[in-house]
């Protein structure tokens, strides 16, 4: 029962592959995009239904696969984000074999689902690689020169980071004589952390930093965002990032929660440990991501650097090392995923209409397609953290939780980092607004204001409308998601 959703996904993928082969054998042409999307989407929805029947239980520390409340929530989230990515259709003729493409999407989702629900180091690696290998292929699937470059970069960086991760995990096993995170925590509780554990931890953080596109492990992101098919980017940017965050939370909060190894990044009270490293990664990511995003002339690349910057905000909360901060980070990464996915979907539509994805291509979007412009407004202002959208609540929760966890007794705590994050977040409004300025203030240069705007298939419409609605609802009623996440985190990881 525990693997029911994953089984559904794999079965659907096999059905899809079979159907693709059959259609191609019969008609000589590959299966059409629309049919492949419908089959894949049905598979994801069925997997979501199957998830309702999966028994939820807290990890006993013995099993490879755990469906604790945290895993349960995030499997649902990953399926939701995966569905939105599936719904975002590729451009005409962009994908040569839709059957294989969507089967790979389902395999990637399977890997991501498995990754959310394990506390076992080796299984974690296997599941993560299942997802990663599918993603490498998905990125290069359109077979253009750009996509090939993106795929190669993604693969090379990903391969090295996977090596780091595996190497680090083996060190942890050597230290703890146990391949579970609970075992690592026990070993750390028994005595001071040895060099073996520290080395292992550093390598694991490097490996996960790549997944999350934290600077300085972010070099793949701009090329992947720009070169890969929008559908693949949506999966990499949203679902894969959410999963990376879940893994980071599990590893740090379950395995390395002990103060002896977490250290402290507090101002004037710096103690060596993972907390100050994450703080440095966060600061570098925020500064680099935001500054470089300002210089971009491609909205996709802009979103890539904004991804780096947003990872920085997430790491700010993680470096506070507390359950409410981690809960806020998990909430924010979902909100971020929705906003980025939606922004990519609108960008894809504009790109197909105007031929490129520069901010100028958005000029006059409000006249050409008002609702797409409004959706873009929702996504970008949510990313910039403007109320009443979910991105604002997410950032606010992130910052206030980080402060509350770190400033006990009136010490400055993480004020320096939260302050930097708040200022960087303010700066980010500049480049988001420069896109919105084109969409709302400028007119279409060729005077095509009255012309029909970018048309969209129903699936594409859903991929834009659903995240936009979710961001508004979560912005007005954040407790709907924030409270369950924090409760699940506390229940799953045994934190107070």
């Amino acid at each position: 029962m525990q693997l029911l959703p994953e089984s559904v996904l794999v079965l659907t993928a096999l059905v899809l592959l079979g159907a693709a082969v059959a259609v191609e054998a019969q008609s000589g042409k590959p299966i059409c995009n629309r049919v492949a999307i419908v089959i894949a989407a049905c598979g994801v929805v069925l997997a979501g239904l199957a998830l309702c029947y999966v028994p939820v239980d807290v990890d006993s520390g013995k099993s490879l696969i755990v469906i604790d409340p945290l895993a349960h929530i995030f499997k649902a989230v990953v399926l939701g984000l995966g569905l939105l990515a599936v719904l975002l259709p590729p451009a005409r003729g962009e994908i040569p074999q839709p059957g294989e493409f969507y089967a790979l999407m389902l395999f990637a989702l399977t890997g991501l689902l498995l990754t959310t629900g394990t506390n076992h180091l080796l299984f974690l690696f296997v599941a993560l690689e299942l997802a990663s290998l599918s993603l490498y292929l998905l990125v290069g699937f359109s077979r253009t020169a750009r996509a090939a470059e993106a795929s190669l970069k993604y693969f090379l960086f990903g391969g090295v980071s996977a090596a780091f991760l595996l190497f680090g995990l083996s060190f942890l096993y050597g230290f703890a004589h146990s391949a579970t995170l609970a075992g690592v925590a026990d070993a750390l509780g028994a005595g001071p952390p040895s060099a073996l554990a520290v080395t292992g931890l550093v390598m694991v953080v490097v490996g996960l930093g790549f997944k999350l596109a934290a600077a300085p492990f972010h070099y793949w992101a701009p090329d992947v965002y720009q070169g890969a098919p929008a559908t693949s980017v949506a999966l990499v940017a949203a679902a894969s990032k959410v999963v990376g965050m879940v893994v980071l939370v599990r590893v740090l909060m379950l395995g390395f929660h002990a103060a002896s190894v977490s250290g402290s990044a507090a101002w004037g009270g710096m103690v060596a440990g993972w907390s100050p490293w994450l703080a440095v990664l966060a600061a570098v990511s925020m500064v680099l991501g935001n500054v470089l995003a300002m210089a971009q002339t491609s909205v996709r690349r802009l979103l890539a650097y904004s991804a780096v910057a947003n990872t920085g905000y997430l790491l700010v909360a993680m470096s506070a090392n507390g359950p409410s901060a981690a809960g806020a980070a998990l909430f924010y990464v979902i909100v971020y995923g929705l906003a980025t996915l939606g922004a990519l979907a609108v960008t894809a539509a504009v790109e197909r209409d105007r031929g490129n994805d520069s901010p100028a291509a958005f000029a006059g979007l409000i006249h050409r397609s008002p609702w797409q412009a409004v959706a873009m407004l929702v996504f970008l202002t949510s990313l910039a953290g403007i109320p009443p959208l979910a991105g604002f609540v997410g950032k606010f929760a992130l910052f206030s939780a980080a402060m509350a966890e770190s400033t006990k007794g009136g010490t400055p705590g993480l004020t320096w980092l939260v302050g930097l994050a708040a200022i960087m977040s303010a700066i980010s409004l500049y480049y988001y607004l420069s896109v919105l300025k084109q969409a709302f203030v400028r007119d279409t240069p060729d005077g095509g204001n009255a012309a029909a705007g970018p048309t969209m298939s129903p699936a594409h419409f859903l991929a834009v409308a659903l995240p936009a609605m979710a961001l508004v609802v979560l912005g007005l009623f954040p407790a709907l998601l924030l409270d369950p996440i924090t409760a699940a985190l506390v229940a799953s990881l045994g934190l107070r």
């Binding site: 409410s324 202002t381 206030s400 402060m403 509350a404 966890e405 009136g410 500049y430 407790a479």
Partner: protein
């Protein structure tokens, strides 16, 4: 009618305007006017109710919102908040009337306009720091759009500059808020809770300036309400600095206004000078000072609305220039007498002539300052003199130019429309009403100053 109708009417108006079909776009101004009227009437009714029953508990609305962070949807309206609501309502009506003839994308214009009004109402009513911050930030984007789309000269640059200033200052406020949240135990964002918490002097010493600068950058839409919570000590420590900044603001603003060529820049710098009085009243920290600060905020809201409305809408709409020397050609006194009369009265109010609201406010601040330190009062007097100078100079150059008989006669300008006349009369009437009979306003303001939030800096029996 409870004060909640102010927020509801504004946001409902914005939504209704957006839902209008394209062919009825021009009806959006009617909807905006009705929504503003509902808001203003709700505020006025609530003000009267408060005046009649001053001992009733204040109206409030309190529901949990984000329990995980102790955030509540908490609105409450004491007398001070009510006067500011009424001010917002009046200015909203005048704003809609001044913008009556906006023809370019009217639906978007009035939707953004009403969103801003709703956000401002929300700022005045919020009793939860998170909610306050939401309302504070909600206006940033509509403000950008209003300026960037419907602005006049150099609009995209100006809009982006203002937006970056606003978001930058709100980042500082955010830092201050989360610091206060963390230091007060991380359980609640309620303003009274934050105000009642005990903060170590060390924390106050570094946290207070951050929050203060954040609010000061925006020249205090509603300044003291929220930074007051960070505590008496930080405030005491920084009082002389604030007073100094305020005095510099008054004199510097007035001096800069003296040398401007653009009529709108004159008004802009005079605002800097006016807001200096608000800051000064707060820095004085006495009852008179705070009362004067509140009065000045209200008075400035009315007068600045009037000045900008006449210079930026009524005159600019017809002349397409705001340059003081170019305006000379139009001989506005003869071609647009209504605007000239309105601007003259507004200038009188802005200079703080007795009978207008500005006088009541500035004299209160001066009394408060005298109680704090008599030596600073002459500097204020200097500021008032320069204010007179630049106001009269601008008025003279723009509306009453010296013209020779040989000059080409000015072209005729379209006369004032009814909406414009109503807006100008409304604002002048309110300024006169406050100036001639300030008692109800003072009673309501004092009611607000008695609230526990101000106990840390001021105790009233």
């Amino acid at each position: 009618m409870t004060p909640a109708w102010t927020i509801l009417s504004a946001f409902a108006g914005a939504l209704l305007v957006l839902l209008l079909p394209a062919r009825m776009a021009i009806a959006s101004r009617v909807i905006a006017l009705l929504a503003s009227l509902v808001g203003a009437v709700a505020a006025a009714v609530s003000c009267l109710a408060r005046l009649n029953n001053p001992l009733d508990p204040v109206w409030s609305f309190d529901r949990p919102w984000i329990p995980g962070f102790g955030i509540r949807f908490h609105l409450a309206a004491d007398g001070l908040a009510l006067t500011l609501l009424l001010l917002t309502g009046i200015v909203a009506i005048a704003g809609v009337l001044f913008s009556w003839n906006v023809e370019r994308r009217p639906r978007a214009f009035f939707a953004f306009f009403m969103t801003i009004i709703g956000g401002v109402y929300g700022v005045f009513l919020s009793r939860d720091a998170f909610l306050l911050f939401v309302c504070y930030e909600i206006v940033i984007l509509p403000k950008y759009m209003l300026i960037a789309i419907w602005g006049s000269t150099n609009k995209e640059y100006g809009a982006m500059k203002l937006t970056m200033y606003s978001i930058g200052s709100s980042a500082l406020i955010l830092i201050g808020l989360v610091v206060a949240y963390g230091a007060s135990g991380g359980t609640s964002f309620d303003i009274a809770h934050l105000a009642g918490a005990h903060y170590s002097p060390a924390l106050q010493a570094w946290a207070f300036p951050i929050l203060f600068v954040g609010f000061a950058v925006l020249a205090g839409m509603w300044p003291f309400h929220t930074w007051a919570p960070t505590g008496h000590q930080g405030f005491e420590q920084w009082k002389p600095v604030i007073a100094g900044l305020a005095l510099i603001g008054i004199v510097y603003g007035a001096l800069t206004a003296l040398s401007q060529k653009d009529l709108k820049f004159v008004i802009g710098y005079s605002s800097v000078s006016h807001m200096g009085f608000v800051l000064l009243g707060i820095a004085a920290g006495t009852h008179w000072g705070l009362r004067g600060a509140a009065l000045q905020m209200i008075s400035h809201g009315i007068i600045a609305g009037l000045l900008f409305g006449i210079a930026g809408r009524v005159v600019y709409e017809r002349t397409h220039t705001r340059d003081l020397t170019e305006l000379r050609e139009f001989d506005l006194w003869r071609t647009l007498p209504g605007a000239a009369i309105g601007f003259t009265l507004a200038t009188a109010a802005s200079m703080g002539l007795p009978g207008f609201s500005g006088f009541v406010a500035e004299i209160s601040v001066a009394i408060g300052l005298w109680q704090f330190s008599p030596w600073l009062v002459p500097v204020v007097a200097l500021g008032i003199v320069i204010t007179g100078a630049f106001s009269l100079r601008a008025l003279h150059k723009a509306f009453f130019p010296v013209r020779n008989a040989t000059d080409t006669p000015p072209s005729l300008l379209p006369p004032l429309t009814w909406p414009e006349i109503s807006a100008i009369s409304l604002l002048i009437a309110v300024s006169l009403a406050i100036g001639l009979y300030p008692k109800p306003w003072v009673v309501l303001i004092d009611d607000g100053l008695r609230s526990p939030v101000f106990h840390s800096i001021l105790y009233l029996p």
